[in-house]
Amino acid sequence: MCKEIKFRWLAVVVAAFLSYGVYATETLRFHIGKSASVEEIEGWDIDVRPDGLGLPVGLGSASSGEILYEEKCASCHGSFGEGEGRWPKIAGGLGTLSDARPEKTVGSYWPYVSTLWDYIHRTMPFLQPQSLSDDEVYSLTAYILFLNDLVDEDFILTNENLPTIILPNRKQFVNDPRPDVHNTRCMMDCIAPGSNLSWHAANLNVTPKSLPDTLPKENDGETASFMVDASVIAVYRSSCAACHDAGVSGSPVLGDQVAWTKRLESVGLEGLYEHATNGYYGTNGYMPAKGGNLDLTELAVKAVVDYMGMMAR
């Protein structure tokens, strides 16, 4: 590190005076750190801009994207991009943005195709981020454009044509005009007393109540099996349902007798406890440890596995 600092010294000082321009709020240099090599930057520089800067050379067709999509995306986003449960809807919704319930999808809302490529590439599929090849990302991007009726089924997306595709909503984004709402510091008679008579309260019964206290504790009984009750179902809803309601990421669906029996026969109940507690990578999917909720006690995890097993009987 020291060698590099010496090596850089002259260049840094010159740069400080020549090219720092109007932003030279700090002139002090500390000569700490090591220069980033081209290879190091290439490995980490994953972002893609609307003008195509950052896109790797590559291509993918909507039709090849369809196969990948069904395998890796449909369990959350739906076969037609309609979104399962609360997972994001990614297709349709065109013309709904001024409706009472706008549907914000790639086709109806997103301003740039580059955002879609970048997002799939940096973090999808949800449980296996940065696992897709560049061409797979081109294919999936093309297929999602197809799901939004923006390209044909035989369309091939490339690094060349991606920046030329204009999404319908691009022009609807404006910069922040705030402060846009102006109140005054009135102290007396600020609103007419009559206008102040009608109030309504939040009586929807959707506020979680003391959830942590309903979770099974380590000392709450001898075996997990005795604890299949409302609190276990609450754990299932909060930590397991996101995947096991719909079979996301190869997970056995709650109540699917065949799928659960198969697993019980192959690894046994202890094996299921183990996978649920510590996580598991299979050929078809992935189970995050404790469903991603590491606050759960081991006994709570076992109880919820028992519950899911019971539902499959």
């Binding site: 260049a11 840094v12 090219s19 720092y20 932003y23 709020t25 700090e26 002090l28 240099r29 500390f30 700490i32 220069s35 980033a36 190091e40 980490w44 520089d45 959350c76 609360r86 001024s98 319930r101 706008p102 914000k104 809302y109 997103w110 740039y112 580059s114 955002t115 970048d118 997002y119 940096r122 973090t123 949800f126 981020p129 940065q130 909503n169 984004f173 404006v174 922040d176 005009p177 402060p179 846009d180 709402v181 109140n183 102290m187 600020c190 609103i191 102040n196 009608s198 109030w199 309504h200 939040a202 009586n203 959707v206 506020t207 959830l211 942590p212 909060s238 996101a242 995050p288 991603g292």
Partner: protein
């Protein structure tokens, strides 16, 4: 524990409401009737033995009797707890510092387990000297410590269409305030030699979401920190261990956690979290983008659904106010739903882009009230009413709902979250 507490509180309220036609009993009158071996004249049991040894809790834990003061989640709000949010228990917090353990959480792909020895911050792009810094490097730079709030712009977002959550924790709890220690980003940018063509930075996290945001260079060189410590200790994993950006006054999402990369560029990147999300849709279907600043806001915390009043008489009304544009200048309170207002006192430290606590000495006569607070910041901006916000922005913009909040206090002492029809 909470169950028992709630029950006794409920019983109390029940009993209280029975007698409320005349006058409320004070809690001391009520509790005095309940025998305990630990209350006078008896000597408490914990005085008649020794307690836990020194070092019994090498990293201290709160009293077990405070176990219901925790971050909570709203399970129906998000598809998965891996990409979700937890809320700070504002109703139970004092002063302006949020305990690190109770700082609200928002993760887009869970909490990564980052190895500090192998974590790197890369700064590259339109600069003369792209750098890679490890943790040893980062702590060598001159450091600063600053108290700043961080607020998710979706705070209060569940309340645009009407009152929904029956708890302060869920109406305002995506808000926390810490003392952050780290290096000014401007110090690091000087080190790489920013080119004059650089107008934006991209900040990117080392989580599974590789969460990234574009920030204009002016802000990056102004007051942004690359923080490694929070409230005196290394940042918690759920707050970005080992380093995060702290972008004062701007929406929490721009304070990128688990920071691994800063790129200098001439244009914004328009990543997912600044196009598909964190944009504010208006009634005409247009959308506001790059709505960064958290405008002036306030809420009363000492009286709220979690803190009903147990007796008439003196109460200190307390709450917090904050502004992403600077210091809080005034806070006013109303007890009649906004017809008349009285100035509250600012209490303790009044800091730039930090929570500011306010206080109002009040005597409750037992009659129903509509209690509100209204913050004014040093720019003169006055916290708006919900009606004013809705008139301009409709009800679908999700983010940046900073309107005056109303608690309805009933004659029994119960408190509800209400909005005017």
């Amino acid at each position: 524990m909470a169950g028992t507490k709630d029950l006794s509180r409920r019983n109390f309220l029940k009993r209280a409401s029975v007698v409320s036609g005349a006058a409320l009993m004070t809690s001391s009158q009520l509790w005095a009737n309940e025998y305990s071996p630990n209350t006078p004249p008896n000597v408490p049991t914990w005085m008649r033995k020794t307690g836990q040894a020194v070092g019994a809790f090498p990293y201290g834990v709160p009293s077990p009797h405070e176990s219901d003061i925790v971050r909570r989640t709203v399970p129906w709000l998000t598809a998965s707890p891996i990409s979700s949010v937890s809320f700070s228990p504002l109703h139970a917090l004092k002063g302006i510092i949020t305990p690190s353990s109770l700082h609200f959480e928002r993760h887009h792909s869970g909490i990564p387990d980052v190895l500090p020895n192998e974590h790197r911050l890369m700064i590259h792009g339109l600069c003369d000297n792209p750098l890679i810094l490890d943790m040893d490097d980062l702590v060598r730079f001159p450091s600063v410590s600053e108290i700043r709030f961080i607020e998710c712009p979706a705070n209060g977002g569940m309340e645009w269409r009407g009152p929904q959550m029956e708890a302060l924790q869920f109406t305002h709890g995506m808000l926390s305030c810490s003392e952050w220690t780290g290096v000014r980003l401007s110090t690091l940018l000087a080190e790489v030699g920013v080119r004059s063509t650089a107008k934006w930075i991209l900040a990117e996290g080392a989580d599974g979401a590789a969460m990234g945001r574009s920030i204009p260079i002016g802000k990056a060189l102004d007051d942004v920190l690359v923080a490694y410590a929070q409230n005196g200790e290394m940042i918690r994993p759920e707050q970005g261990y080992p380093i995060r950006l702290v972008n004062p006054g701007w929406e929490g999402n721009t304070s990128v956690k688990w920071l691994r990369r800063i790129e200098l560029g001439d244009k914004p990147w328009h990543l997912r979290e600044e196009t598909s999300k964190y944009t504010d849709i208006m009634p005409d279907g247009s959308a506001r983008q790059f709505t960064w600043v958290q405008e002036s806001n306030s809420v009363i915390t000492s009286i709220c659904p979690e803190n009903p009043l147990k007796n008439k008489g003196y109460h200190e009304i307390e709450g917090v106010a904050w502004s992403g544009r600077g210091k809080i200048k005034h806070v006013d309170v109303s007890f009649d739903g906004g017809i008349s207002w009285k100035p509250a006192q600012l209490k303790g430290l009044v800091l730039d882009k930090a929570l500011t606590r306010f206080s109002f000495n009040w005597t409750w006569d037992g009659s129903p009230k509509l209690i509100q607070s209204r913050a004014i910041d040093e720019t003169g901006y006055v916290q708006p009413t919900l009606e004013q916000l809705r008139r301009v922005r409709g009800v679908n913009s999700i983010y940046h709902k900073n309107s005056i909040h109303t608690w309805q206090l009933s004659h029994t002492g119960e408190v509800k979250n209400v909005q005017r029809n």
